[in-house]
């Protein structure tokens, strides 16, 4: 029902919708996200912002799926808004003017994925140091720590640190 009214109102922009395990989600064109968001907030009563994040699918193009989820406290419903962002310079519209609570969530997504949010008032890194290079949660970011050496492995050619680990 909600999906129908969205489909009627926004025609091409709402590309698909799904109801997997009871979670309603819609995929929207990046250009129409803010409009859809405003409609959801004003007409459908989705007032409570839950989270914003992204998923990295390196094999796909566009590479990133940007996800926001919001809830309607009065109607006890939830909806997940998804859009896409493509390399080499991934962008997505910012929903901070629709839901101010999205501020830090979008900053975190910029920090960890490198997706710029157009219209965000204060897009800085949130979790990593300001001078950090790289976006850790991308699939091609190797999460290095220390190699773990076991007793049956050869030790020559390894640096002193690795042996101690």
């Amino acid at each position: 029902m909600l999906v129908e009214s969205l489909g009627n109102r926004f025609k091409q922009a709402v590309r698909e919708s799904s109801d997997f395990r009871g979670d309603l989600s819609i995929v929207v064109d990046p250009s129409a996200v803010v409009e859809v968001a405003r409609y959801l907030r004003d007409e459908e009563g989705f007032d409570y912002f839950l989270y914003a994040t992204a998923v990295d699918w390196p094999a796909r193009d566009p590479r990133f799926t940007v996800v926001w989820e919001v809830r309607s406290l009065a109607n006890k419903t939830r909806i997940r808004i998804k859009t896409t962002a493509a390399m080499p310079d991934p962008h997505a519209p910012s929903l901070t003017e629709v839901w101010p609570a999205a501020n830090w969530h979008e900053r975190e997504t910029w920090d960890l994925f490198g997706i710029k949010f157009d219209g965000h008032p204060d897009l800085r890194r949130l979790l990593m140091p300001q001078t950090w290079e790289g976006h850790p949660l991308r699939k091609d970011y190797v999460s290095f720590g220390e190699p773990v050496i076991f007793s049956d492995q050869k030790l020559e050619g390894l640096e002193p640190d690795a042996i101690r680990g």
């Binding site: 979670d23 979790l127 300001q130 640190d161």
Partner: protein, 414 residues
């Protein structure tokens, strides 16, 4: 690995993006004070850059990330069962609740039924964790405001909960007691009696705390009228949990979207009126009492039966079966070495942690590991309005406001 260089985090105004920008350049007699990551009252490693005009705060910029651990990246590298041990360490004041939220998202994805006894055990552990977390909050928030003896009262009660945790799971804090499809172990003999003793003793102890604080004029002066957040503002800024309820918004996940059998238990959700720090204190103390009510009801109605699902594709078979059935051995081997696979899709499961709605957004690509596990941290949402709440208050009130928010940096930074 060779020498690693870590670029020094600039403590000064910082490069490039400066939040106190040219459009609101402050007057030159304002001081910038760094409430640094090592501070007794920041409840963890939070850094707040304050602009002070004398004793009055004009602006604040919280700087988080000093405890960023890369949990979400770690979840992608571990199977679903291995991730449970990681999930404890996020909101480390109430680890059982993280455990339940994590496995709930996996259970929702795969479509696994949890038997009633397992649900009851989960509820008991979660409510105990809620009491322990609120006690700790009372102790430390009080400590910041000068209530030195409150710290010791709080820890006396918290130790009882940690004892119960230890009797059940072997560990005081990081219980990791859930498994996908149920819980890891059945309750040991005598645990229910110990829990009953706890339930009998606690109301008097909460009364002790209230007697010390609720009518205390110093407590009133420090907390009443400070950091007030109206209901509309609370919803707009996205705060959750006791902060939201203290502002008068009736939203508690346990009532709105019951899980783990919460619909069977009769309890109230305390609400505040002003949304100030004092209301948040009242809400949390009352929540402790309601948790005791829930615990008593669970003890009285505890169902018998299995404590984990008997779907062998997901849960380990009992050890007694291993010597009898070849199929069990194969299931055991598969589950321990590889784990189980989920369908392709994405789900969002959420629980009510002592800080608010803790959600797990799980994206699966059909393998035995999560493709993306996003944690929706209540503490991040609660910390966001700090900038707005502290404008115009005295420096000492900043401590009171941060204390009343009850955020935990492990949750904020993950």
């Amino acid at each position: 690995m060779a020498e690693t260089r870590i670029a020094q985090e600039p403590f000064g105004p910082g490069p490039a993006q400066e939040p106190f920008g040219p459009e609101n350049e402050p007057p030159t007699d304002w001081i910038e004070l760094n409430m640094g990551p090592q501070h007794p009252s920041t409840h963890g490693v939070l850094r707040v850059r304050l602009k002070l005009d004398g004793e009055v705060v004009r602006d604040a910029d919280p700087d988080v990330g000093y405890l960023h651990t890369g949990f979400e990246k770690s979840f992608e590298e571990k199977t679903y069962t291995q991730g449970i041990t990681f999930s404890d360490r996020m909101d480390y004041l109430a680890p059982p609740i993280n455990n339940v939220g994590f496995v709930m998202s996996v259970e929702k994805l795969i479509g696994v039924e949890v038997p009633p006894r397992a649900q009851a055990i989960r509820v008991m552990m979660m409510e105990l964790a809620r009491i322990a977390s609120h006690e700790l909050w009372l102790g430390t928030a009080g400590l910041d405001l000068g209530v030195y003896s409150g710290f010791f009262y709080a820890w006396r009660d918290r130790e009882l909960v940690l004892d119960l945790n230890e009797l059940y799971s072997g560990v005081r804090m990081m219980t990791s007691f859930t498994r996908v499809g149920g819980v890891a172990w059945d309750l040991p003999d005598g645990w229910i009696d110990q829990l009953q003793r706890f339930i009998d003793v606690m109301p008097a102890r909460i009364d002790d705390f209230e007697a010390m604080l609720t009518d205390n004029p110093i407590w009133h002066q420090r907390l009443q009228g400070i950091g007030a957040l109206s209901a509309e503002d609370a919803i707009r800024t996205g705060v959750t949990g006791p902060m939201l309820r203290a502002s008068g918004v009736d939203y508690d996940v346990r009532k709105a979207f019951p899980y783990c059998g919460y619909e069977q238990y009769d309890f109230q959700v305390p609400l505040g009126t002003n949304g100030d720090c004092f209301d948040r204190y009242r809400v949390r103390v009352q929540e402790m009492r309601e948790s005791l009510k829930i615990l008593q009801q669970v003890v009285d109605t505890l169902p018998s039966g299995p404590w984990i699902t008997d779907d062998r594709k997901v849960a380990l078979p009992p050890r007694s079966e291993l010597s009898k059935s070849m199929e069990s051995v194969i299931h055991h081997f598969r589950l321990v070495s590889e784990g189980f696979k989920g369908p392709v899709g994405d789900v969002y499961a959420f629980v009510e942690s002592p800080r608010g709605e803790l959600g797990f957004y799980l994206v699966s690509d059909g393998t035995n590991k999560p493709y993306r596990m996003k944690v929706r941290p209540p503490s991040l949402c609660n910390l966001q309005p700090l900038k707005k709440l502290v404008q115009g208050v005295l420096l000492a009130d900043v401590i009171a406001i941060m204390g009343s928010m009850d955020f935990i940096l492990g949750d904020v930074d993950r």
